[in-house]
Symmetry: D2
Subunit: 284 residues, 4 copies
Amino acid sequence: MKGLILKIDCPDQHGIVAKIASYVADYAGNLVEFSQFTDSSDEKFLARVEIDTTKLSVDISEFIAGFSTLGKSLNASWKFREQPYKMRTAILVTKTDHCLNEILWRTKLGEIPIEITSIIGNRDVCQPIAEKAGIPFHHIDMDGDKKAAGFEQIRDLLVEQKVELTVLARFMQILPDWFCKQFSGNIINIHHSFLPAFIGANPYRQAYERGVKFIGATCHYVTADLDAGPIIEQEVKRVQHFHSAADLMRLGRDSERDAIARGIRYHVNDRTIIHGNRAIVFPD
Amino acid sequence: MKGLILKIDCPDQHGIVAKIASYVADYAGNLVEFSQFTDSSDEKFLARVEIDTTKLSVDISEFIAGFSTLGKSLNASWKFREQPYKMRTAILVTKTDHCLNEILWRTKLGEIPIEITSIIGNRDVCQPIAEKAGIPFHHIDMDGDKKAAGFEQIRDLLVEQKVELTVLARFMQILPDWFCKQFSGNIINIHHSFLPAFIGANPYRQAYERGVKFIGATCHYVTADLDAGPIIEQEVKRVQHFHSAADLMRLGRDSERDAIARGIRYHVNDRTIIHGNRAIVFPD
Amino acid sequence: MKGLILKIDCPDQHGIVAKIASYVADYAGNLVEFSQFTDSSDEKFLARVEIDTTKLSVDISEFIAGFSTLGKSLNASWKFREQPYKMRTAILVTKTDHCLNEILWRTKLGEIPIEITSIIGNRDVCQPIAEKAGIPFHHIDMDGDKKAAGFEQIRDLLVEQKVELTVLARFMQILPDWFCKQFSGNIINIHHSFLPAFIGANPYRQAYERGVKFIGATCHYVTADLDAGPIIEQEVKRVQHFHSAADLMRLGRDSERDAIARGIRYHVNDRTIIHGNRAIVFPD
Amino acid sequence: MKGLILKIDCPDQHGIVAKIASYVADYAGNLVEFSQFTDSSDEKFLARVEIDTTKLSVDISEFIAGFSTLGKSLNASWKFREQPYKMRTAILVTKTDHCLNEILWRTKLGEIPIEITSIIGNRDVCQPIAEKAGIPFHHIDMDGDKKAAGFEQIRDLLVEQKVELTVLARFMQILPDWFCKQFSGNIINIHHSFLPAFIGANPYRQAYERGVKFIGATCHYVTADLDAGPIIEQEVKRVQHFHSAADLMRLGRDSERDAIARGIRYHVNDRTIIHGNRAIVFPD
């Protein structure tokens, strides 16, 4: 579909929907989907608007530019994205490949509209997978005192390749603050536990010892505060006492694949809006 | 909250959202929730609009009446309901009481905004429950050749008590066609299987023999075509080979309670729109 | 069914199953269900054995007594319970009644084989529910400095009424250590979060602020270490950004009802074995 | 682990567990897992026994051979399988590759202990996947009147390659009766609906039109009666009115991948026993 997605947030006020919808209608756009949420705690209005532009009476660029008068009058932040769109995405890995494989597979199937610019690993274990998929692989040694330089190299790659989204697909390195800040809102991580339970090392071992009856995984935006960024998606699986730590890892992998695939999908389809420490998600 | 809920469906056309939202904004109504769905297969637009009328610039009745100009121009069907609202509801039962208890309990808790006008049973088994809850109970004998007259008695009760919603809470009588038609769209049934699997008698026995790994329940609108009305809600539970038919009944009861409670809730909060043979549901 | 349930745990060793099963067979008992788990981390064997005693060649008491030779030789702890059995159970409440209602309802339906000796409240809010159900209600004032004496009164009631299981059905008082110890393994609590997430006050508020995508409830044995006892059962429900803290409470209630009902059922059917800080559960 | 798995079924009778467990114990085998089910409807005893043979006092072959005296006296059918074991498995495909990819990936990870002898397609679409994975691919044209000969070719391949398990991973050909019979109990299919709902063509379209709230997939043994063989595993996903038939296909793929992966895993780990028209499954 030829179209536009508008994400907007602004202080709640009288007549917002009417104004936005009228702007679209005035230029012969067709509202395909209108998802809105008003957070009563802080009087914020947030919306995602999907517009069919087939019959638009003006150029898309003119339509987008013209919106700024309304946007400013609403005191809003907003962003348009033309459809179809393939978001330039880099995937960071270490050794584990199940999340990487899941993303590659769904991308190939057309479920996740991204263009994978590169796979970057602080180990070279995933290089053969990248090669089979025909995607450039960059091995960046980050061991010991090479870590700081490594992150600069990654930064350079991301900037150079005009990467819009960085996915940490079981990337086992703690990101420096400056990195989180520079790419804020554009880094997605998969955490191998049902956050906020079992923060920290070896969540499966923790889960086993605590005897929980579900384990899970969490896909979240990365912020400087480790494992505490806005949650995009979670998944859980039932477990029982006979599941060993190895079984929990197996079931955990399934949770991770589900959660990261949906999380990325929501992000690249502009179905998420970061709102304070929460992610507003309009799922499909 | 003082407010209005508008349900509307009309042929899809240019600018519908803008027109509806502008009408609301023009009279200082505030859109609290705007849920919309366009069925591309038949070019139909359907929406549920929740309006805060606290600052409405006109009387609510005037606001509602004034909408008809727009509604007609859109060639729409629509309905307004003032909030808060308690829908007058009759519950039909036979012997089984778990759905009845679930409805009573959630109603008391304020989760389901209904006023239960009466409990009607073709057996008197549930009479003590009705009495404890302080709700009139009508025992209507429908055995053998009293069945036809029984449904006329029920009809008279529903009309006389101005009942808006009739819930078949495991009511073990097949409704005559004229009854389904007279109350079309206002009868909700709970079916003790995951429809369309196991239509017909003894679904638990069927499920056991087929060896399925999930059983379920289905809450649906009643139409003349038995068990084939629009589905409002379903629930499933995992089962294993060691679950006897009695275990399946136990787990089935849990599914039924969940499905009927949510189904009624969606209906009385005007979160459902019947659209052909499907129910469009905007869940909360 | 006339029968026996045997729960046993002992150091893992050669031929345990053969020995137990042979003992049963030697006296013409019939193994209906044999559930076993060997914890390889500490070399412990745990089992639940369900025996049909219809054709037993000796008296049940003799059969039970005779087992001690084998039990001792295995260095085991074990317990027999004759079936059918109704466990004497007290329910402790404060104001909230959804867990209480759930337990009463399932007990009446025969899903939970207990005899409710009394309902004990530190508020009298639930007294009418107890009266309708024909169960003695004890109001014990525990406000301010009456708390210590209150727990002694409860203890006296539990002892006097020969209570075997105490269920904290949203009982909003922290139990003193001596109380936990005295009734160790025989107190079940429902915690209104998916432990170990959101330990502490107001878990729904915490869940809302953290933006999790599932909320849950946890049914666990009470130990002196608050909220850290062995988990018997958990339940989770999916939530979204538009669910207010009130919605989370509503969905939380559903989780709590599910989890406590199953948790009690597992306990009274001897389907749980406390093993260190975990509960081994053989679900049905 | 060096070990044996015993699957056994026989008429229910006195002392079975004792006899089996004693046989194992007599030869210094260690019961790691003992899963048993007695079907009271037809008085059948079924069990799966996992034996650690590290300390076995005789050769494994002798142990297995010696069991036949007991097995015959119980009038049982039984089968031993030495562990670790990689079942020789052929995968039949047409065009769709998501089930194939899932199986390849989990096999590589060690989650499914199989040796894939070949991938056989009536289209050559999946050939590149087979090549990348280093697995022989056989393209067998089955169009039009080549169908009968095609199945004979497949049969020859399966026999020649000593295939023990044939997986229909979205293989879009109806199997002839003789083929089903010849490989009875050793063919697993994935059906793209929650059976028995939506048997037949285009289940997603059927599900969409019926407006169900869950869709699913079913992994089952193939029998001559199409889509009616014993169910091994099922999976369901929640859907809503806004999910198009394409969305249902996407969610259906996820269900299929989950169900087929677990179904195969249960089969090759000998966790299934076909019992009449049901599959008894001891899940892990």
